[in-house]
């Protein structure tokens, strides 16, 4: 069906994320259902409570999981199938840094993805140095990752993804582990950089710089909008929920 193909290409001439009736089930339990999301905003935010399906969505978008229903196109491509395209198109920062780290040393961890993008050893080494220098951490080059603090590990993961310069950067709670100075520098950097962002958080304050936001609740998108409308509504609802019930008394 070449017509559809052409239509599709036209729609994605500008970079776009298109999820159509996306569903994901594990062991017959729906984690995501009926998620339809079309956006070509430069910075997309996804907000939602614990367990609402944000990380699952991130992994689907990065092509790491296959949807059990519906379809996903990033820039017109199916990244689950086409892993080669995926590498240049998306980079994902996992929520738990320990789930992302593969290698024992910082430099190896950062170089790994670069080598897979086709850089040769020397080129990769140069890029590793550059990233470390940019974050003012050249002394981490040979540091064993297991000896870093959790926030420091998080930063290593961030550097490894940024070094690959993907067109779309999927960040799953990137700020949860980082201290204020690092967070601020990173935010400015991301703002300037030439990548599209999909930023996931349960913390509305993190998402204020986004252009378009989606509110995920129990596996469904329940609202969509700019930060100035959606975030106050989300925050109000969260505070309402938080004040609703006291934890029953634990003394019993």
């Amino acid at each position: 069906m070449p017509q559809i193909h052409d239509a599709e290409r036209a729609a994605t001439a500008d970079f776009a994320i298109r999820l159509d009736d996306l569903g994901y089930e594990v062991a017959d339990r729906p984690v995501l259902s009926g998620v339809t999301l079309h956006s070509s905003a430069r910075r997309i935010g996804v907000v939602g409570r614990n367990g609402s399906g944000k990380s699952t969505l991130a992994r689907l978008l990065a092509g790491l999981l296959a949807p059990t229903g519906g379809r996903i196109r990033i820039n017109g491509q199916d990244l689950y199938r086409d892993r080669r395209a995926a590498l240049d198109t998306v980079g994902i920062l996992f929520q738990n840094p320990e789930h992302q780290i593969i290698f024992p040393r910082v430099s190896e961890e950062i170089a790994f993805g670069l080598r897979h993008q086709g850089l040769d050893k020397a080129q990769a080494a140069v890029r590793v140095q550059a990233v470390l220098a940019a974050f003012d951490k050249p002394h981490w080059h040979d540091a064993p990752i297991s000896a870093l603090s959790q926030g420091q590990k998080h930063l290593v993961c961030m550097m490894a993804v940024l070094a690959m310069r993907p067109k779309l950067l999927i960040l799953d709670e990137p700020y949860a582990g980082l201290d204020i100075p690092t967070r601020r520098q990173l935010a400015r950097h991301l703002h300037r950089a030439d990548t599209r962002l999909l930023h996931i958080s349960h913390e509305p304050a993190d998402l204020e710089a986004c252009d378009e936001l989606f509110w995920l609740d129990r596996g469904r998108i329940v609202a969509r909008g700019g930060p100035s409308e959606l975030l106050p509504a989300f925050t109000a609802e969260m505070i309402r929920l938080g004040d609703l019930d006291d934890l029953a008394d634990l003394a019993g």
Partner: protein, 205 residues
């Protein structure tokens, strides 16, 4: 034992990995097949000299990593002492310590990537036969990565156990350890996929 990393950059870091591994192979084979007590003793002294060459920090790190073989030394010597074959015991012990020290030395001074590149060259003939060797090149560093992780996992679990129990964990940790290791494999699998794991970039060169 193979999570060894050197505290300082040594000249040996820049030697070709193939040379270092080749030498290790030759030395271990020769010592196994032909070495007596004298030859093994000289070999051990030579290895220790190599450890001392880059300076005291390196020597200390190296000796610390050798501590793991200490129980074996005691055990081997004890056993052979009991069976009345102390000579044989001394020989086996010497050879073991020498080889472990030498292998550790290679590991400490060889970045994993060099090892992988070496495997790539060694498996070139297989690729010419049409076999895909990409998986192998990823699997080898992964084994090197997982071995210390398993040990560390056990330590982390033991700490979590001690935080809520005054008894020693012991064998109770075997099942959680296995389950966590399987989960770790899943996470690493996903992390590999996220950054191009199965694509085997080295075949492009």
């Amino acid at each position: 034992m193979i999570s060894l990393t050197s505290p300082v950059e040594t000249r040996a870091h820049r030697w070709p990995a193939g040379l270092k591994l080749g030498a290790l192979c030759v030395v271990s084979t020769v010592l196994f097949v032909a070495g007596g007590i004298a030859a093994n003793g000289i070999a051990l002294a030579a290895v220790l000299a190599l450890y001392a060459a880059p300076g005291p920090a390196f020597l200390r790190a190296g000796l610390r990593s050798l501590r793991v073989v200490l129980p074996f030394v005691v055990l081997l010597l004890g056993w052979h002492g009991l069976t009345g074959d102390l000579r044989q015991g001394v020989l086996i012990t010497l050879r073991m310590v020498t080889l472990v020290a030498l292998a550790n030395l290679v590991t400490m001074t060889t970045p994993l990537q060099d090892l992988v590149a070496l495997i790539h060259r060694l498996t070139a003939p297989l690729r010419r036969l049409g076999l895909r060797t990409g998986a192998l090149e990823i699997a080898i560093p992964l084994v090197v990565r997982f071995t210390p992780v398993l040990v560390q996992r056990a330590e982390t679990l033991a700490e979590a156990w001690r935080a809520r129990s005054r008894r020693r964990p012991g064998w109770h940790l075997v099942l959680p350890l296995t389950l966590q290791a399987m989960d770790d494999a899943d996470h690493v699998g996903e992390a590999l996929r996220a950054r191009g794991g199965a694509l085997a970039p080295w075949e492009q060169e």
